[in-house]
């Protein structure tokens, strides 16, 4: 039996939260001085359903209004037990039994029970959206059991070493409330798309898809509250980059997204009312190479492409050094990324050398993501490099929603796709087994890359639980992927935070950026 001991979640702050609960709310003075924190986001919050959303861009909905069994904090990310008080894992690694914390309340005052957890898992499996991909291989519908009101048990199809990690995306909804609003067996999808049924730190107060949402601090949150917490968390949709920047400079917004062009960051750094900082995230940018389509199954062809990309030109010039070169697929700060991994450089002679050994060279096609300038720019960079070695490359742009499904269709997939691999959970599996295991053809392995040694290592690493042993396996995988030129690995993202000076104790975590408002303190 492996036992997870819950980390003490700021016991001191929890106590303070309790005493504060008695004061704030009744007192008119305190009400007037509500601390309001406004985030300008560049993704429209056109839907609030935590089981339909999965992207980091709109994670604020999930992090602030819902709770999950586990939760990621800080950088490098640490997994906290969140709703869970005690976890038991069977020796074969298939049965997970969790005891929930007592007295976790939803915003309507109902106490959370294991039935809510079961309902939430079934809902994810039924809707087949959002985090479905994380669970579909290991959790069958109907296998999650509520043993008693505080005990829930998952029986997995196979051992899955990262199960605890992916439980951070099992957002628990108030099942009684959602069921009440179900229509024609839609699992309440219509209702939950514009309402909220969570237990999180903030309860939805206002929502308008065109404006964003505002949520008020939920005094009765089980984890308690720290010093000077934010009372009103507001997330506004502001599409124009220049407006977001201007708004933070004027103090209308307290922060904005952390991936601004260097020119805009430079303007904010000059402003005395803004503090900026940067942190290396775990989000690698790379080209998917579709190995299914000849001649991309030829390692020489792929090496030619890897040598034809101007890494420094792209990372340091086009992106003005706002990113860090990452030689492999696993982000540098993540364990499992081998130290001193040797990657490819921009070397047209080598590119030509490898290209010369390829038979039946044909023009290639890059599918760039419309609306993501970096994806388009990387496509242009590769196109220009290839032109110099006499290889014709065509670019098409498509919305991500059009590209994504083709990733799982080897015939329709583009030859090359420049995109990010974000951290949905902080484990090397997120970048290796998920993306390159032969098992995941048509379901994550969009490269259609297949290497028996990589498969073996990735499978093994999901069964073994000792992190040191797993590290060695993932380092080998990472090495092989570079030798095989499985993809064109370009950079790791840096988060560039800009916050108004009256805020502090912001906790950046690559899973959720800095959008978890409950940690932020603000001066009165």
């Amino acid at each position: 039996m492996t036992k997870f001991v819950p980390l003490s979640i700021n016991r001191r702050t929890a106590l303070m939260g309790l005493s504060a609960a008695g004061l704030i709310g009744m007192n008119g003075e305190a009400l007037a001085a509500r601390r309001k924190f406004v985030t300008a986001n560049n993704n429209p919050y056109d839907i609030l359903d935590p089981h339909q959303l999965f992207d980091i861009g709109r994670i604020a909905v999930r992090l602030n209004m819902y709770d999950a069994l586990t939760r990621w904090v800080d950088n490098p990310p640490k997994l906290q037990m969140w709703l869970v008080e005690k976890a038991d894992i069977s020796p074969d690694g298939k049965v997970y039994t969790f005891t929930l914390k007592p007295n976790v309340k939803f915003h309507d005052g109902t106490v959370m029970t294991s039935a809510d957890v079961v309902y939430s898992m079934e809902r994810i499996l039924a809707l087949k959206k959002g985090a479905y991909g994380l669970f579909k291989d290991v959790v069958e519908p109907g296998t999650t059991k509520a043993l008693d009101p505080r005990t829930v048990q998952f029986t997995l199809k196979a051992p899955f070493a990262v199960f605890m990690a992916v439980l951070s995306e099992l957002w628990v909804v108030n099942s009684a409330l959602v069921k009440k609003n179900e229509k024609n067996g839609d699992w309440g999808a219509d209702w939950l798309s514009k309402n909220e049924a969570g237990s999180g730190g903030y309860a939805l107060r206002r929502y308008d898809p065109a404006v964003g949402f505002q949520a008020a601090r939920f005094e009765g949150h089980f984890a308690g509250w720290g010093k000077n917490p934010i009372d009103d968390a507001e997330f506004r949709v502001v599409m124009e980059t220049a407006t977001r920047v201007l708004g933070v400079m004027k103090g209308e917004f307290n922060t904005t997204d952390g991936y601004l062009p260097a020119e805009q960051m430079a303007r904010m750094k000059e402003n005395p009312n803004i503090k900026t900082w940067e942190a290396e995230s775990i989000r690698t940018f790379y080209f998917i190479i579709n190995h299914w389509k000849a001649p991309l199954n030829d390692v020489n062809m792929r090496k030619a492409l890897c040598y034809a990309f101007d890494y420094d030109g792209f990372n340091d010039k086009i992106l003005s050094g706002t990113v860090v070169r990452n030689n492999g697929i696993i982000p540098n700060p993540m364990w499992g990324a081998p130290k001193g991994l040797k990657g490819y450089t921009y070397d047209l002679d080598k590119a030509k050398y490898h290209l010369a050994q390829v038979k039946n060279v044909r023009p290639l096609q890059i599918g760039a993501m419309a609306g993501y300038p970096q994806s388009e720019q990387a496509a242009q960079m590769l196109q220009a490099g290839c032109a110099k070695i006499g290889l014709e490359v065509k670019i098409v742009t498509e919305p991500y929603t059009t590209i994504a499904p083709k990733l799982n269709d080897r015939e329709r997939a583009h030859d090359l796709i420049p995109l990010w691999r974000s951290a949905y959970f902080a484990d090397p599996h997120n970048w290796t087994g998920f993306l390159f295991n032969t098992k995941n053809f048509d379901a994550g392995n969009a490269s259609y890359y297949s290497n028996p040694r990589v498969d073996e290592l990735c499978d093994q690493a999901l069964i073994v639980t000792d992190q040191e042993k797993r590290r060695v396996m993932y380092e080998e995988v990472s090495q092989i992927l570079v030798e095989d030129a499985a993809g064109i690995f370009i950079n790791n993202t840096k988060f560039h935070g800009a916050f108004t000076k009256n805020t502090k104790s912001i906790r950046f975590c690559p899973i959720g950026d800095a959008q978890d408002v409950r940690w932020i303190e603000m001066e009165g």
């Binding site: 124009e240 220049a242 020119e263 030109g313 086009i318 419309a370 300038p373 242009q380 960079m381 196109q383």
Partner: protein, 282 residues
């Protein structure tokens, strides 16, 4: 009256000069450009550089020379607008002729269909079609021709109606000319003036619409030097890169104005019936 004519002729002249420049620029884009390889190539070291001697109109997000791209963009602009307008004319004119010449339910139906097209904003229909087909130059052309033909159908219909009882048509009929012959050889030449005027102004409208589709991301993919797309790209870098959107915007302005001036001028020369006391009415 004389002053009006001079202004008119001057308008025509300016229009012709602008459009000739556009055509020359498109044809000689290579020799005229300072960085001919910057249609697909670029220089990351000079990303977002201000206009100056090295880069006349500055550089874009990849470090490509905006002036050179603008020149090559003229080709794309002409290509899209000429093909789209020509297709619209080829569809619209015969429909208008036939519906105008014959009576009957078919004529009525054809005109009703074109009325419905005209009842909805063109750009809205073009967006729907372009989205259905996917972003590419061909599809922009298709979307624009599919939505613009009713303008010509309407015009030719009205003109044909007014012509079909004229004596010269009656005479041709009496000599046993077939309807096809009458339409093609007698009526069409007589109404060609207004078709040419409409087509000239239509070119301008098509360029604006194509640029809008490009701006919305429904046009040619990068690195095509499409003017609307260039303006869209610039937004992320405002206010620093003020020059990024300025040049393509002025290019669109000049070219559309050129076609409008030319159309207005041609109206006076080719379509004297509309020359009522210097009226500007369409």
């Amino acid at each position: 009256m004389k002053a009006v004519r001079i202004f008119r002729d001057r308008a025509l002249l300016i229009g012709v000069v602008i459009i000739s420049c556009l055509v020359l620029v498109a044809v000689f884009a290579g020799p005229l450009s300072t960085y001919p390889d910057h249609v697909t190539g670029f220089d990351p070291n000079h990303r977002l550089t201000q206009p100056g001697w090295q880069f006349l109109l500055g550089t874009d997000r990849m470090g490509a020379d905006i002036y050179s791209r603008l020149l090559f963009g003229a080709r794309l602009t002409i290509l899209i607008s000429v093909i789209a307008t020509a297709t619209a004319v080829i569809i619209g004119v015969p429909i208008g002729l036939v519906a105008g010449y014959f009576d009957g339910w078919a004529s009525e139906a054809l005109m009703r269909i074109s009325d419905i097209f005209l009842a909805v904003p063109q750009i809205v229909l073009a967006i729907a079609i372009a989205q259905t087909l996917g972003p590419s130059i061909q599809n922009v052309i298709l979307a624009l021709s599919a939505t613009y033909w009713p303008f010509w159908a309407r015009l030719v219909y009205a003109e044909t109606r007014s012509q079909r009882n004229e004596i010269y048509v009656e005479a041709a009929k009496a000599m046993g000319a077939s309807p096809l012959r009458i339409m093609a050889l007698h009526i069409l030449p007589n109404i060609s003036g207004s078709i040419i005027v409409r087509t000239t102004i239509g070119m301008g409208a098509t360029i604006l619409a194509a640029a809008s589709l490009g701006f919305l991301g429904l046009g040619a993919p990068p690195p095509a030097p499409e003017w609307g797309r260039m303006i869209a790209e610039s937004r992320e870098f405002l206010p620093k890169a003020w020059w990024y959107a300025t040049a393509p915007g002025i290019a669109i302005l000049m070219v559309v104005m050129g076609f409008n001036l030319m159309g207005d001028g041609l109206r006076d020369v080719l379509d004297p019936r509309l020359r009522r006391g210097g009226s500007d009415g369409k």
